[in-house]
Subunit: 322 residues, 2 copies
């Protein structure tokens, strides 16, 4: 088996901006711009680790791994337009730098490239990989729509919120792991188990994201705490608080949402998150989802030592405070 | 073999808005809006006719036929945003009715659905169909970029213009025909010939579009003649005129491009198109492309009578005055 570092080295060795056409440059410069942001490669890594877990050929997993990275970046480009975001990881977003039309078209061509690399694999696996990927892509677009819908609503139930983050972000992690399993020839039962591992870990990860914005250590998280609170962003914490608060506390919460004093607002909302039990609810939900993820991984039918790398990764995700 | 009417009846019987999910409605209502515009179904029809030509099962061609229609409509949705177009075939464009974000996301999910239906075919054909489709999709996005690039340039060579319309519109016609051939088990030689038939017919069609805007009969074309001229749209005629005009005629052309009197402008530009020989150049180019298309079709190795339906369709496209 290969360490995550070895897998990522193989990946970086193979892929760079030469994996796209050069011309017309007005189309491909924006693609190269977003692809130049070197993220954590979590989706390619999960795909390769899963393939390795089930004893598959990591070399055959490289193209679909790149496909998922291209696809993920495509969603960022289009989401940034929809969210009117100017900055991503410290550099201007594609539409900010190149214009909205370039953002739309660069995203479109990236989606086509994702399919191109996804299917540049041994033909026997193409139909199954495509089926999983199409389903996932459709869910992701539905998740983005739910997210936009929720921003306009005053009350969103926890189950609705969980469905949204499942579709918008977690299914792609499950998809990455399942694809690796398919490439390694794993059976459907094991595919389902490794998929569920990724799905639940992704949900826990997403709630942690919301949680750290309110209760993290600014120095460790690397950004100012309370950014979501200031923006009234419908996080897991806020939607849970809106469901839990009654009477005077609900009035207080609504007043805080309209408070323009940032410090007061952050402190007040965090205090309410604690007194309403929202902080504990979030912690319990994360633990429950993490346990579910680990249970799924444990049930995968390969020898236990092979699972150590993914277990370690899951533990790191769960325990992160940044 | 089946008549075009029979093929279209099969198609209409199978596909309607129930071929998309229902929810979230904010995502799928825009999809249904654009799909409700009943176009000429030229791409599905070409795919089915080609499959029929080579003796394939038309039933197996239905899903990819729908995929091409979904894909084509997706490009219209995103192109309309980029072109800032308010109306398409008499109804509001998707982004005009539902907003730009809805237009972007509805387009994205349509592209995923296109891949879903494209690959809902006997597995043996999936890799080949995907290869052709991915290549075509990438070319179409490159063509749209070239089109946008050209709008900002003063001089565009004829070969550049032909490359742009080839990528932006003609490759999808070639792709439709080649896919039908693949599904019917035609060999690569025949695939290439039927592809070239579509490609060249598409080019002739596109130039005809430009031509009819200037020299068509308004009653037959169904819209006011000279719309492209008024907008200084870089049509085949205008780019050829800009290349051909020298000295006083070039000055006159530039003056006309800035003339705000629509009637004067249309009459003046049309007059220049004639005196510069642009009208004849366009006619010759269309005839040449049409002849090339027919030659390709004639070289397809099936009995001549089987080609009659496609020949008739090509002739209708070539001789249309609307």
């Amino acid at each position: 088996m290969h360490s995550p570092e070895e897998l990522l080295a193989l990946y970086e060795q193979k892929f760079n901006s030469s994996n796209f056409n050069e011309s017309p440059s007005a189309l491909y410069d924006p693609v190269k711009h977003i692809m130049s942001i070197k993220g954590k490669r979590i989706r390619p890594l999960l795909l390769m680790m899963s393939c390795d877990l089930f004893g598959g050929s990591v070399a055959e997993a490289l193209n679909p791994a790149f496909a998922l990275e291209v696809f993920h970046n495509f969603t960022l480009v289009h989401d940034d337009i929809m969210d009117n975001a100017d900055i991503r990881r410290g550099i201007p977003t594609v539409h900010k730098k190149f214009g909205i039309n370039s953002g739309i078209l660069a995203g479109d061509v990236m989606l086509a490239y994702a399919y191109k690399y996804l299917t540049d694999i041994p033909v026997v696996h193409i139909p199954e990989l495509l089926r999983i990927f199409n389903q996932t892509a459709i869910e992701i677009f539905e998740g983005q729509q739910l997210d936009m819908d929720f921003e306009k609503r005053t009350n969103v139930a926890e189950t609705e919120y969980l469905k949204m983050i499942e579709y918008k972000t977690s299914v792609l992690l499950g998809c990455a792991l399942q694809m690796g399993a398919v490439l390694a020839g794993a059976d459907q039962e094991n595919q389902k188990r490794i998929y569920d591992f990724g799905l639940n870990l992704g949900l826990a990860f997403q709630i942690k994201d919301d949680y750290l914005d309110a209760f993290g250590d600014g120095e460790k998280v690397g950004k100012k705490i309370g950014g979501d609170i200031v923006q009234n962003k419908k996080t897991y914490l806020l939607i849970t608080a809106l469901q839990a608060a009654k009477g005077a506390q609900l009035d207080e919460l609504h007043a805080l949402l309209n408070n323009t004093n940032e410090e007061e607002k952050i402190a007040g909302v965090k205090h309410l998150f604690e007194t309403l039990g929202v902080k504990v609810i979030a912690e319990n939900r994360m633990n429950q989802l993490y346990d579910k993820a680990i249970e799924s991984l444990q049930s995968v039918m390969v020898e236990a030592p092979r699972k150590e790398l993914l277990l370690k990764l899951a533990r790191a995700v769960h325990e992160r405070d940044f």
